[in-house]
């Protein structure tokens, strides 16, 4: 485990650890996955209703 590593990097002490991190790519991937899940769910529900 990483906690056993004596040479681990010092913990970020800043009050806002996310400052300066660009999360745009993460945001787009997460939303795409969410939209995919919703679209497949409602697609299958429509299939269920039509049969």
């Amino acid at each position: 485990m990483a906690t056993d590593n004596p040479k681990k990097r010092p913990v970020q002490q800043s009050g806002n650890p996310h400052t300066g991190i660009n999360l745009k790519g993460t945001f787009i991937s997460v939303m795409l996955l969410g939209v995919f899940i919703l679209v497949t769910w409602f697609g299958l529900y429509a299939l269920f209703l039509s049969r």
């Binding site: 996310h18 999360l23 993460t26 945001f27 939303m31 969410g34 899940i37 919703l38 049969r51």
Partner: protein
């Protein structure tokens, strides 16, 4: 706790989806009565004939009321028993008019089988000791193949039948 603006958006989206689907599950279970096909009712798999629905003379398709049908089936390796026709031949095809309400009742004498009328919403697991039931409205015309979708042994692929819905 400080959250990044994007984190707030996707956490809201994620929690919103969770709430939405929990409401859907609750609605399906408590308002629509959706539940597993094998109800609490049990049956002796060694002696399914003791159950009224699975007596040999009660197997197969039967019209119980205007537009309402019951289909009783006994599954076993590797056959679906829909009863016999007037010539004593095993029934492998049943026909119902479009729009009829059909209740499928099925049990198994031996191992776990599947019962799927491919192309419709009829899809159940059939477990020894249980009676699986599913009522549906056959709203689409066509020939639908009944298949076993739980691998039950060497003759698994030989378990099939046909449901025809006519105009």
């Amino acid at each position: 706790m400080h959250l990044h603006k994007y984190e707030k958006i996707w956490l809201t989206f994620g929690l919103g989806s969770l709430a939405l689907f929990l409401v859907i599950i609750g609605f399906a279970a408590f308002w629509k009565g959706t539940h597993p096909m094998s109800h609490i009712e049990t049956i002796d798999p060694q002696n399914v004939e003791a159950h009224d629905s699975f007596k040999p003379e009660n197997l197969g398709l039967r019209e119980v009321a205007e537009g309402k049908y019951t289909v009783n089936i006994v599954a076993s390796a590797f056959n679906y028993d829909f009863g016999t026709d007037a010539d004593g031949k095993p029934v492998k095809k049943i026909r119902v008019p479009k729009g009829s309400t059909v209740l499928f009742q099925i049990t198994t004498k031996d191992v776990v089988h599947g019962f799927q009328v491919a192309g419709t919403n009829v899809n159940m697991m059939v477990e020894p000791g249980h009676v699986s039931r599913l009522e549906t409205v056959m709203k689409n015309v066509g020939e639908f193949t009944v298949v076993c979708n739980e691998y039950c042994g060497i003759g698994h692929h030989q378990m099939f039948a046909t449901v025809e819905v006519y105009e």
